[in-house]
Amino acid sequence: MFEPLITAIMFLFSDGLNFFYLILGVSVGILFGIIPGLGGVTAIALLLPLTFGMSPEQALILMGGVMGAVSAGGAVTAILLNTPGTAPNAATCFDGYPLTQQGKAGLAIGAAASASAIGGTFGLFILVLVLPIAKTIVLWFGPPAFFMLALLGLTSLTVSSGNMLRGLIAGCLGLFVGFVGYDEIGGTARYTGGSDYLWNGLSIVPVLIGLFAIAEMISLFVKGGTITTQGSQSSIRFSDTIQGVKATLKNYKIVMCGSGIGALIGAIPGVGGVVASFMSYSFASQITKDNENFGKGDIRGVIASESANNAKDGGGLIPTLAFGVPGSAEMAVFLGVLILHGLNPGPLLLIEREYTIFVLILTLLGATILSAVFICIAAFYLVRIAYIDSSILIPSVISVSLVGAYAVNNTLGDVFTAAFFGLLGYLMIRFDYPRITLIIALVLCSLMERNYTQSMIMFQGDWTGFFRDNTAVVLLLCSVVALSIPAFQSIRKKKGYG
């Protein structure tokens, strides 16, 4: 194991161009992460032709740079505009944006960037540890286990919504939206009204742009003024960002938990980072003491979400490298890059190209840390967004987001989807329904339905089959525990008062 590692390090330092590609990748990644709608998928697809003349390792450095930086960039938008730059940053909005409103955007960005860096490093560490047994882990998850995992994801939603009834309504709405489109097992198109646009179902990015970016801008328009009224541009201090970094270091337990959850969930193909960061957030908000401030601007919320968010990338590489099964849309495009350069992901890649994999791992490590440093430096300027008058901010954000929505699939329909969900999102803000619940239900819907049907086909209609699958049983127990935590807490509180 050490020999290929050393060869990989030697390779990285052998050519200055390698560092240029890394920095280029990181810069593009941060930029695409910050702009809502543009994300890792678009960045990798756009950079792909550039890699034609490169060696496979150099191509990996460029793409690794992008992948390691995108989610850190997305956190900035989540904090400043309450709009996740990429889907997995959604949970960062909960506490990041209230902090911005309180004039503490620098603190939040510092914490998010440093939590990303530590989480990302931790995720890669786990990747290196489990690579030898990656195959076994992937094989644990069959249809019954995936179904239980989706169930666990939905369970953690209802637990963490402030108002359970409204949380459930938003969740059901998400499930309903998720049912739209072609059902591959049943072979029928559902709720498409005959339209080709709805055949594939609604993509997550335009829905996300509508629910967050556009809804937030409508809400700001109604309110008027600037995002924060605390302090002014001249009161921005670089030391705020440093305070954020310190806050992350102080809450190392949350960082560790978040990274662990992120790496674990990331390793499971199809679930994606949205669930990872959200689970980490809800876990942190339940187990920490003095948790009344979660959702109102507790820095620990930002730390929990962002540490999981970056750790998931390390985990996400496990199924991608071991089996060529992409864990997310981003990984699917990345897989294309690997194949184009003759690195056929699958059981043999891990054995035959160990050195190449270490180049990728080291690149991701470099990208994670480099992006955190870049963002901390840029935070000083970025924070000014909170003081820009809404008459300038709103048109800029809306036009950029709509272009982003269009760019995902080059479809005009996605622009209308974003606009529709923008209005819905505003109504949800106005009447206090949780938007993230809708998004997560939407993400989990097809996973849950497909794997339930597949399980039932496998068991030939006998539902007790779920209890014969070990992984499924463990996940079901986790759901039971997650559901009973609030009940236990309220019993304990009553006893305390009584």
Binding site: A45, E184, D196, V337
Partner: protein, 322 residues
């Protein structure tokens, strides 16, 4: 400011000049529509092929891959079908993936038999697979199984249709096999088989190769007229007495909209044949593990018709099994 105006004027004039140069196809960039998202097999095919195709079309033009995913490839295909037949919009088309919807009774906004076929780039044969530690070693063993569960991609996919035709031809349907569909891609299927979700599946040879070499899966038989060069000791269905099954494969063909001008068509077909024969393209294709199987435009059109007839013949076997 004046300099800018001057420069702009020169540009407009020069554009006008090239405009008057009629008949010199191609004068602008050519796009190849990929009806699927970035990162997949069709995407890779076009991205590898495009630069060599462009080189044969002259120094002035680029060939630009353009992803247009949606509706299982039908959206992109329909937009190639409707494009102006000027040779500047082409598409990489999936056969039989795009033949199947109309066979299965869906309405589609294109007619493959009217397309202007430029040529075939790839053709992949299928291999029937079981788990490496399974007690199934041959077709006969499979036919003797009490419980056969095929893992497959969802309804409408080529792989499922091919599995259904194989099951019918091998006489497995009276054993009431289970079709465990809904997997998202070929690799997902293979992993599902390794895990034991079912006990047999079908996959393009090149995708399955790694899993066979790593000792996870065992090949039983391959489609195609001849044995696969990489799986030389695996019998073909033809050898085993099932000649119809030789026609099961996945092909990637380059096409333009119907009614393409014959001069432009000849030019494109010519450039296609030269590009596909370029040794540099061949080595790039080998790196990307493509199954290059060139066919000129006329033969490609014949192949399309043969495909329609083949799947039409087995239409009654292709209803959704779930």
């Amino acid at each position: 400011m004046r300099q800018w105006l001057l420069a702009a004027g020169v540009m407009i004039l020069s554009a006008g000049c090239s405009e008057s140069n009629e008949g010199q196809f191609p004068r602008e960039n050519i796009s190849i529509i990929i009806p699927y998202g970035p990162g997949g097999g069709f995407d890779t095919t076009v991205r590898v092929f495009a630069p060599y195709f462009a080189a044969q079309l002259g120094d002035q033009v680029n060939v630009l891959p353009q992803n247009m995913p949606g509706t299982g490839g039908r959206r992109g295909t329909a937009s190639v079908f409707r494009a102006d037949p000027d040779g500047y919009t082409l598409g990489i088309l999936n056969m039989p993936g795009l033949v199947l919807p109309s066979i299965l009774g869906e309405t589609v906004d294109y007619d493959l038999r009217q397309m202007s076929w430029i040529g075939r780039i790839e053709s992949q044969d299928f291999v029937l697979l079981v788990q490496a530690d399974s007690d199934i070693h041959s077709i006969e063993d499979l036919q003797a199984q009490d419980r056969i569960t095929f893992v497959s991609i969802g309804y409408g996919a080529t792989v499922l249709a091919a599995i259904q035709i194989i099951a019918e031809q091998l006489g497995l349907m009276n054993r009431d096999p289970i079709f465990l569909t809904g997997y998202e891609g070929t690799t997902d299927q293979l992993v599902a088989l390794v895990r034991g979700d079912g006990n047999a599946t079908l996959s393009p040879v090149s995708t399955a190769l790694q899993y066979i070499e790593s000792g996870n899966l065992r090949p039983i038989a391959v489609t195609g007229e001849n044995r696969s060069s990489v799986l030389a000791d695996v019998p073909t269905f033809v050898e085993l007495g099932y000649p119809d099954l030789s026609q099961l494969n996945v092909q990637r063909l380059l096409a333009g909209p119907p009614g393409l001008d014959s001069a432009i068509m000849a030019l494109l077909r010519d450039a296609f044949l030269r590009a596909i024969d370029d040794p540099e393209f061949k080595s790039a294709a080998a790196t990307a593990q493509m199954d290059v199987a060139p066919l000129d435009g006329e033969l490609a059109a014949v192949e399309v018709d043969a495909n329609f007839n083949f799947y039409e013949k087995f239409k009654s076997n292709l209803a959704n099994p779930n």
